[in-house]
């Protein structure tokens, strides 16, 4: 990068800050962080449901303020999730699952304060450094992304979907099944290549495709209410006085390594197709345990086991914005919802976004920097307040969630049919939960499906029908081979296990 390029980037970054610091945008950033922390704290309600439910309320605010707020919910939830993990031993959202292990133990030993403190500090460092990383790589990456044509997109999406199904849930068969259903749902509507309506059942409103927001609100919002009506979550908060949030010098000494490693790990996992906050937190925990000189401390309240994963999941959030903004590809459900939101705002993410809409890109990036600082200020002194939130009886939330969903879905297109779609998917989502199917692969495949199909068909037009195009181009070939390996390897291991067993029997 030569000096001129650095200057141009700096200029854009400063312009971004001037946008993010406008009172209007600051307000939306604050609201996003507050709502995000809240849904992170409340078990069950996650960032996906919160973003889709609140999406319609941002329409009047304009795209920049809207995306700033939705992004705030995303990384705010990562902060909030840790609070519930530590105090209640219940992950507030999926990326905080590992925090429960050592965080809850720390709380039981009366060290909830330092555990929460190191979460906030680690999250701040991870979040901030990953935003810095985003700033540094965005511009050169956008230029490089031009080399990504339809075959490369096809390869990337293949690997993304495979990794997501690979990681989601316990049963790979079930998540592959969900991904298949998602691809099918994504096919509903006008076919881009032949301009013909498919699977619309003759219903006019389906010609534009099944709306992503009604489907998500149904699967995450309404279904959440349904399943909670059945059995209300019993939240028992550890009755411990939270005192001395500031970690001790020893805590800091132990945590600095995990925090820095977690930042790097989280950022790169976030960028990778299929990676994201959840994966990065597990990887970080595993890595810290391996690297530690006293691995036996893990599981009984090691602060490293809290610092690393909590940093990593926040850093991953920043990393995940790279494929979303630069390639227009969402590789986790939250990114998918954000992409849906951007399309509703009329913003087209892709390699061109940086040149066509620099204000939006850098404004949102700068707001994430600002938001991370806000969260640090909010989290340390307000922990007590968030804990009180956990005591609000759930039944008070349900009517509000249903109301928000109903009004929200209608306000997007003023189409009553979308309310029916949402309610139908609410029932579907409830059944999926009952039978332990993950909704995440479905949503992701539904968003990626149409792009996936287009990329495949565009590639084949480019190659006059030859599938060789996917293997003659290095990026797509690497992606496809890696995806194939991911699908095959688990079976190979099973094969060897069977073989072992067979040998034992013989």
């Amino acid at each position: 990068m030569d000096f001129r390029e650095v200057a141009v980037t700096m200029d854009a970054v400063l312009a971004g800050f001037s946008i993010a610091l406008q009172p209007w945008n600051l307000l939306f950033c604050l609201m996003g962080c507050l709502v995000g922390t809240l849904v992170g704290v409340l078990p069950g309600l996650g960032p996906v449901a919160a973003i889709s439910i609140l999406l319609p309320t941002t329409f009047k605010a304009g795209p920049i303020a809207g995306i700033i707020m939705l992004a705030g919910i995303y990384y705010g939830a990562m902060y909030g999730g840790s609070i519930t993990s530590i105090l209640v031993n219940l992950p507030g959202e999926a990326a905080s699952v590992v925090t429960c292990i050592d965080g809850y133990q720390m709380a039981r030993q009366g060290r909830a304060g330092p555990a929460l403190g190191i979460c906030a500090i680690g999250s701040f460092i991870g979040g901030t450094l990953s935003v810095l990383g985003l700033m540094l790589v965005a511009a050169p990456l956008a230029d490089a992304a031009l080399a990504f044509g339809p075959p490369e997109y096809f390869g990337l999406m293949t690997i993304g979907m495979v990794v997501v199904t690979f990681l989601a849930g316990k049963s790979m068969t079930k998540s592959l099944l969900m991904a298949a259903v998602g691809i099918f749902l994504g096919c509903v509507g006008m076919d881009v290549i032949s301009a013909k309506p498919r699977f619309t059942l003759g219903l006019g409103f389906l010609e534009d495709g099944l709306g992503l927001v009604p489907v998500i609100m149904g699967l995450y919002g309404i279904a959440e209410v349904f399943s909670n009506l059945e059995d209300t979550l019993k939240v028992s908060i550890l009755d411990t006085k939270i005192q001395g949030i500031w970690p001790t010098r020893d805590d800091f000494r132990r945590s600095m390594g995990p925090i820095l490693r977690g930042t790097g790990l989280g950022f790169f996992t976030g960028v990778l197709p299929g990676g994201g906050a959840v994966l990065s937190s597990f990887l970080s925990y595993g890595m810290e345990k391996k690297l530690s000189r006293e691995p036996q401390r893990f599981g009984s309240g090691a602060i490293e086991g809290v610092a690393g994963p909590e940093t990593a999941n926040n850093a991953a959030t920043g990393g995940a914005f790279i494929p979303l903004f630069i390639l227009g590809l969402p590789f986790n459900v939250v990114s998918a919802v954000l992409l849906g939101a951007m399309i509703i705002y009329g913003v087209r993410p892709g390699p061109m976004l940086l040149s066509t809409d620099p204000g939006l890109f850098w404004g949102v990036v700068a707001s994430m920097y600002v938001g991370n600082a806000m969260l640090l200020v909010l989290n340390l002194p307000l922990v007590g307040l968030w804990v009180k939130m956990l005591k609000i009886p759930y039944p008070l939330f349900f009517p509000l969630i249903v109301l928000f969903c109903l009004i929200g879905v209608f306000s997007i297109n003023h189409n009553i049919n979308e309310i029916y779609v949402m309610l139908a998917f609410g029932v579907v989502g409830y059944l999926l939960r009952k039978f332990e199917y993950e909704a995440a692969p479905l949503i992701l495949a539904m968003v990626l499906g149409p792009m996936y199909e287009n990329a495949l068909r565009q590639s084949l037009i480019m190659s006059d029908g030859s599938y060789g195009i996917f293997f003659s181009r290095p990026i797509s070939a690497t992606c496809l081979i890696f995806a194939a390996l991911l699908l095959i390897i688990p079976h190979l291991r099973r094969v060897t296990l069977w073989r072992k067993k067979a040998i034992e029997f013989a």
Binding site: V192, S194, G346
Partner: protein, 321 residues
């Protein structure tokens, strides 16, 4: 038969009061339903002309948006409105003469009456600046000698910019293939990245032509573009096909010609105002005005041409099942 007579009678009765009121039209505010989302060029250009036309009509014009199905949704809705001139729609003219040959539409051309066309979109053809083709002739020459080699991007099958290219191919015996993308931005990215050789699209690629990454070889619009005065038009190259489309105002059939003329006159005056021209300039949209007769004539001839041409390509509603 009896029922038919009854319906005809009711229709006649329903039509009576409107012809009577046409003389003092408009006596209350007029609503324009715009077939695209707020904030886009279609929306803002329409709002600009409506603001001017309201002054000549002496009644306010309320613009609201009814986006969906690329402007088809609003036309399907407007055909069922009372044909009294108080609710009209704004949508691309091609939605009525070209799109019905591509897909099932919630309306027929005969359901709608065009009031006027007031603004057009800009379309162009461009290649990468580092490509060997300096002129349109060189490009066509290469394509003729290398059948099947050229790939170009557009924002979809059956768009004007696609049909224009296939029209050229048919006339010159060229074989090239079109790679459809979801929108103009994606189609531009594909040509910049070298994944296709050329792009035929609305001039969303303008910035890249100005920055020297793309070379625009031809404009599809009938007149040279204000933003690219040096780029020759398709007409100058002897290509006689309607690629471009404009935005028209639409009323349900049965509207009295008197009201149509009143509206068209007000919009003709509005189209001549400096305020409206400035907005068009800002969005790179030419602003040729077509009155109701000219607009209807354009729709009639293009409907016939597109029907035959799209059928000959075997796409759209004529595609083999």
């Amino acid at each position: 038969m009896k029922r038919l007579v009854l319906i005809a009678g009711l229709l006649a009765m329903a039509a009576l009061p409107f012809t009577g009121l046409a003389a003092d039209y408009p006596t209350r505010p007029i609503t324009i339903e715009i077939g695209y989302a707020p904030g886009g060029s279609t929306d803002l250009v329409t709002r600009a002309i409506a603001a001017e036309a309201a002054k000549f009509l002496g009644q306010p014009i309320i613009c609201s948006n009814m986006p969906g199905a690329a402007g088809n949704l609003v036309l399907g809705k407007i055909k069922n409105q009372n044909p009294d001139g108080y609710v009209i729609a704004a949508a691309p003219t091609a939605n009525v003469y070209r799109i019905p040959h591509m897909q099932e539409c919630p309306f027929k051309a005969s359901d709608l009456v065009p009031i006027c066309e007031y603004s057009q979109y800009q379309y162009g053809f461009a290649v990468r600046a580092d490509s060997p083709w300096k002129t349109w002739e060189e490009f066509v020459d290469y394509a003729k000698k290398n059948p099947g080699k050229i790939k170009y991007s557009t924002a979809g099958v059956g768009t004007g910019q696609h049909l224009g290219m296939e029209f050229v191919a048919k006339k010159n015996g060229i074989k090239w293939s079109m790679v459809p993308f979801k929108g103009g931005v994606e189609a531009t990215t594909a040509v910049l990245g070298g994944h296709v050789d050329a792009i035929s699209q609305t001039t969303e690629f303008k910035d890249h032509v100005l920055s020297g990454k793309l070379r625009m070889l031809m404009a599809w619009n009938p007149k040279r573009l204000i933003s690219f005065p040096d780029v020759p038009t398709a007409k100058e190259k002897g290509i006689d096909v309607q690629v471009t489309t404009g935005i028209s105002l639409w009323a349900p059939k049965g509207i009295s010609p008197e009201i149509v003329n009143k509206l068209a006159e007000a919009f003709r005056k509005a189209a001549a105002t400096e305020a409206f021209k400035q907005v068009c300039l800002k969005f790179d949209m030419p602003n040729d005005f077509l009155g109701p007769k000219e607009d209807a004539e354009l729709i009639r001839t293009q409907d016939k041409f597109m029907g035959e041409f799209i059928k000959s390509l075997g796409i759209g509603i004529y595609a083999p099942k």
